[in-house]
Every structure is written in structure tokens, then in C-alpha cells.
Symmetry: C2
Subunit: 335 residues, 2 copies
DNA sequence: CTGAAAGCGCTTACAG
DNA sequence: CTGAAAGCGCTTACAG
């Protein structure tokens, strides 16, 4: 900038005015400065600008996995809102590891992002208290924060799961297996609670062996599914599954499509919609969330804070939709 | 930092040493500084650090769409390599718009990212010349840069497409439709060239109406597919499709699965693998690329430059794999 | 082992 | 319409 000023024969401030499109520069001076800028290949250094202004026009997003088909539209939606507000998006994957979440979130704060959207992997976010006090706007999405209060966008996990399981019950199922995500993950617990409530409201008992929370690793899911289908532990085999998420559903579809399982069709309702679900045979009935909508809502809450809103933290709840396609309407087949 | 120094009764430089874990601080002093840091809730301001050091430990990634299932694993792979090198990832979607690509890339340069990975939407990257001259390492992936030389990672688009079409020919097809991405996109052109070469090598003529490059919009693809299937323009209907990418393949699967099309099965080979392709009926034969591998390779080339390599720009070529699953092995059905 | 001074490249507040 | 000085929060180069 100094070089530009020297070359154009003007002061630093005048260059700054031209670069930022401020008023109060004669058109002649402006032309000289522009010329100097292009011939020197000058580009404003935003780091210096940030240091002086205190605002970075960038926001951070921490989620589980950028490549997960549930999270990637969420991320894209956050990006679009950020773009509309002139901000860039820095994002990172926590890989469901609380330490990595913290490391990422704090690294983003050290870069002085204006705000943070977090899909938490951790259940204790007190580490963010100094950052929030220092003015970093923070919004949680998909799962609530732990031990701090903050804006939050959530799907109706409990109600969605309850409705999905009630749908299976309405189609005659009495022995329904639940394969979900790890306990400790809020969505997993809410969906499990929805399952138990639906069973309870229908007066159906739940055998311990029908409930299998755990990792979404396909080997784990296959093992638990096989156990429930073959009626281990002396209980009767399940005639239907309710799947706690996207990743689990895909594995269950594979399990149920295996040739040796085809003679006894098993019903399936999955939480989360996914591409091509309608083209599988049978097409998969799901409780759909709208990940882009979750991302958009969270980003809008964030920019509301950045625009100065300082009322109490609010929680936004987004409904789910049961989409009946076939797999959830299969009647119970006994062996 | 000044406050911390005052509180601990030490100089600024000593605080800097503690914050950066440099040697040469007595353990007693270090403890006092650490205490001051935690009680003040101090966190180093990386913007200031960047300004002084000239390096940001962040890299930028510009691609078409963060939510596209082809690009999201690529993005995640870049993130992992960046993380291994202690860098954060800032990314943005160009939405296949050259202006938006330029705007994003230059915004990232203004933030002084150390390097840039770009999936180009534009065919002229001379706008990056001043940035590259100023030291921003730049690597292109999936498509080559326009009018500048730079490191590049590419799939074997031509050879993959040629092999995919040859596979259909080997299964008896003589009238094969090609539905691809827009002309001007390098991958689209290479794959079309592969199609033409395979047809040519087999001595098969190509009717104009069998070649339909264009947007991946599903309405466009449906219309072109219907035209080829119904044999408009006085030509015979095609008995097989070669699809130029992921998005097109998914639409074609839907077209071919329609009840009114089922009596005359049409073969399909798609470029790009996708989740659940093996569970569709028929399972979809694809020419698979490895997007995570592309991302990883590009990021590794980038960090190689950042570590000081200044040899000639290099091009890395990654092979594709033909995965025969069923849809590509359907024999020709005449009406 | 420790610290004072200068400077990274901008913007702010002010004066002319 | 224009510019000189101070300062944002760090690190570098140097001295003790």
C-alpha cells in the first residue's frame, strides 16, 4: 500500500479510500491510484485489515464429517447464508471426537472468526465461555450444547422417531428392533426415547435385545441386526427395524437385501432421508429431516447475533416428515 | 498479551515464548504467565501473528458444490491433509460460475491463505498470476487450469470413458447414447472424446442425436434420454447409455426404472461411482473415480510446494476402475 | 533466562 | 478533497 501511495504520489489514506471505495477522492486522483494498483499487482492484505477492524467477515463451522451426505448439504447451506452476508466459511470435521472439536473450535476462535456454528461432538462446552464472553457469536445445530446456554437449531428427533415406530406398529408389528447411534449423542437418545414411547403407547413390551445403540460402523450394525433377526437370547426374531440414522439405514438395507434374508421380508423405517431411497426394492420409508434447512436456520440465527441481537438464547425446532415408500409398510412375516 | 505480561510481571516477549512453547523460560516464570493467561482468558490473536509472520497456516479450496457427493469426499480429504500439516481449510462453492470462482479465489488470496486448491469453473486463470507470483501455491484438481501453468491432478477421463463404452460394445450394443455435462467443462469433453474413440475403434457410426452434452439438470437429462429412447429424428432408438457423471447417472436410473420403460431393458454405464449403486435393480455398472484420492493427491502437491519445491508444474493422473455390476451387461433389446 | 524497540499492513481519528 | 500520526496484537532481531 505504501508502494502504491508512493507510485501514485498520494498519501496512504487516499489509497485506503480508493481500495475501499470510500467517497471523497477526486476522479483524477482515483485514476492515478487505480493505475498504481494494477501496475503493482496490489491486493489489500485482509489480515492487517482484520487486526485493525476487529472483525474478519468469516465464520467457522465444526461438524462431524464434511463428507457425510447428511452434513454436506448443511454445510453448503451455511456457506450460502454466509456468502449473502459477505462472509467466508472455514470448516472442519470433528470426526465425532470431543477433543478434536475443541481443538478446531478454539483454532477458529484464534483466527477471530466472527461466529461459530457447531454440531457438537462434546457434551461440555464450557471451554467456549471465554470466547463467547469475548464476543464470538455461537450457534449449535443438530445437537444441543453441553453445560452452556446458546442458540440452538434442532430437528424434532423424539417426535419423528415416535411417529416412525408408531407407523410400523400400525402396520401390525409388535417386535421391532432399534439400531441407533451411540448413547451420549443427543439425537440418538431422543430417537431411542421416541421408539420406547411409541412401543409403550401401544402397550408393547421391549426386549433388551431389541435395542442396540452403538457406532454406525457397518460391522457393528450387521452383527446387531443378525442377532435380532435370528432371535438370539431366547427372544423371538424382530419383524421390523427402526434405524436411528442415515448410515445405519444404508447398512440395514444391505443386510435385508442379502439373498438368504429375502424369503422373510422385514419392515424398515429409517431416520433421515437419502438419495435413491425411492429406487431401492423395496423403496425405503423414512423419517426425513431437512439438513439444508437446519444449516440455513442456524446460520440465520448466527447473523442475527452478529447484527446485534442480544436477547436470550433461543431454540428453534424443525419438524420431520414421514415418507412412506414401501419398506415401512411390509406386514410382519413370522418364520 | 500486554495485560498478561503486566499481570505476570514479565515482558511481552516472555509471554510470546510461553504461548508458543519456545524454550528459554524458567519454569517458575512460565507458571506465573500460564496463570495470568488462564485468569484473563487470553487467547493469542492469530491475525496479528499472521500479519507479522506472513504465513497463515490455512489453505483455500474452491469447488463446484460442497454438497455434491463427488466433491464432499474430495473436500474432506483435503481437510485431512491440511490438518496433518497444521493448517485450516477455508472453502467455497463456485456453483460452476466462473465469476464466482474468481471472486472466491481472490477473497481467499486477500486473506493470505498459504495455498489454493481449485476445481475450476473458469477457463481463464490469468487473474491468479499476480497471486501466484506473490507466492500463493496453487494446485488444480479434476480439471486443468486455463491459460496458466500449475500443478494438476486429473482422473483418466478419456481412458475411463473409452473403456466404459467399449464394455457396452463388447456386450453387443451398436447404438449407444452419450449424455454428459456441458461442453467447455474439461472432464465432459474428455469423456465425450472417450465415447467417440470407442465407437470409432469398433467401427460404429455415431448419430448426432445420440450425443447430448448439457447441464446436469434432471429435466434436461430426462428430455434427451426420452428422445434417444423413442428414436426421434428418424434414427433408431439407442439400446444403451453411457452417462458422463454422477448426477446424470442418477437421473438416468430414474428414467429407466419407470414402469413404461421396464419392458425394454436398456443398458447403462455411468462415469463416477455412487452410494447404493450396487443395490439398485439392476445394479449400476460404473467407471469409478476416487474423489478422496484426488483431493489427497492435490493437497499433497500443494504442501510439497509450500515446503519449498519449485520445480516445473507437474500433472498427476489417477486411473479409473470399471466396476461391472449388471446394468452395463444387459444385452441389446430391440423393439 | 529475559526484555525494549521496531515493524508487519492496514484503519481510525483528526487536522488541514 | 487530502494526509500525517497513532495503534490494532503480535514476532523479529537484538542486547543484556
Amino acid at each position: 500500500m505504501k508502494d502504491v501511495a508512493a507510485r501514485a504520489g498520494v498519501g496512504l489514506k487516499t489509497v485506503s479510500r480508493v481500495v475501499n471505495g470510500e467517497a471523497g477522492v477526486s476522479s483524477d486522483t482515483e485514476r492515478r491510484v487505480q493505475e498504481a494498483i494494477t501496475s503493482l499487482g496490489f491486493r489489500r492484505n485482509d489480515s492487517a485489515r482484520v487486526l485493525r477492524k476487529g472483525t474478519t467477515a468469516s465464520i467457522g463451522l465444526v461438524l462431524e464429517d464434511l463428507a457425510d451426505p447428511f452434513y454436506s448439504p448443511l454445510s453448503r447451506a451455511v456457506e450460502e447464508v454466509a456468502r449473502a452476508h459477505g462472509a467466508l466459511l472455514i470448516n472442519g470435521s470433528s470426526a465425532e471426537d470431543p477433543e478434536r472439536e475443541q481443538e478446531l473450535a478454539l483454532a477458529l476462535c484464534a483466527r477471530r472468526v466472527d461466529g461459530l456454528v457447531i454440531v457438537p461432538a462434546s457434551d461440555d462446552h464450557r471451554y467456549l465461555e471465554p470466547e463467547i464472553a469475548a464476543g464470538v457469536a455461537t450457534v449449535f445445530v443438530d445437537r444441543p450444547p453441553g453445560r452452556i446456554a446458546a442458540d440452538l437449531v434442532l430437528s424434532e428427533n423424539f417426535e419423528g422417531a415416535r411417529a416412525g415406530v408408531a407407523h410400523l406398529i400400525a402396520h401390525g408389528h409388535r417386535r421391532i428392533g432399534f439400531i441407533g447411534d451411540r448413547p451420549g449423542i443427543h439425537t440418538a437418545e431422543e430417537r431411542l426415547r421416541g421408539y420406547r414411547t411409541a412401543m409403550d403407547q401401544a402397550g408393547l413390551p421391549v426386549a433388551d435385545s431389541w435395542v442396540a445403540p452403538g457406532s454406525t460402523d457397518s460391522e457393528r450394525v450387521r452383527a446387531d441386526a443378525a442377532r435380532m433377526l435370528d432371535g438370539a437370547d431366547g427372544t423371538e426374531p424382530v419383524t421390523a427395524f427402526f434405524s436411528g440414522n442415515n448410515r445405519v439405514t444404508v447398512t440395514l438395507v444391505r443386510v435385508l437385501a442379502a439373498p438368504e434374508r429375502r424369503d422373510r421380508p422385514v419392515a424398515l423405517v429409517g431416520f433421515d432421508d437419502f438419495e435413491l431411497a425411492d429406487l431401492l426394492s423395496p423403496p425405503v420409508t423414512v423419517v426425513a429431516q431437512d439438513p439444508a434447512d437446519l444449516g440455513r436456520s442456524a446460520a440465520e440465527l448466527l447473523f442475527r447475533r452478529l447484527d446485534g441481537a442480544d436477547d436470550e438464547p433461543r431454540t428453534v425446532s424443525r419438524p420431520t416428515t414421514l415418507i412412506a415408500r414401501g419398506s415401512g409398510e411390509i406386514p410382519p412375516h413370522e418364520r
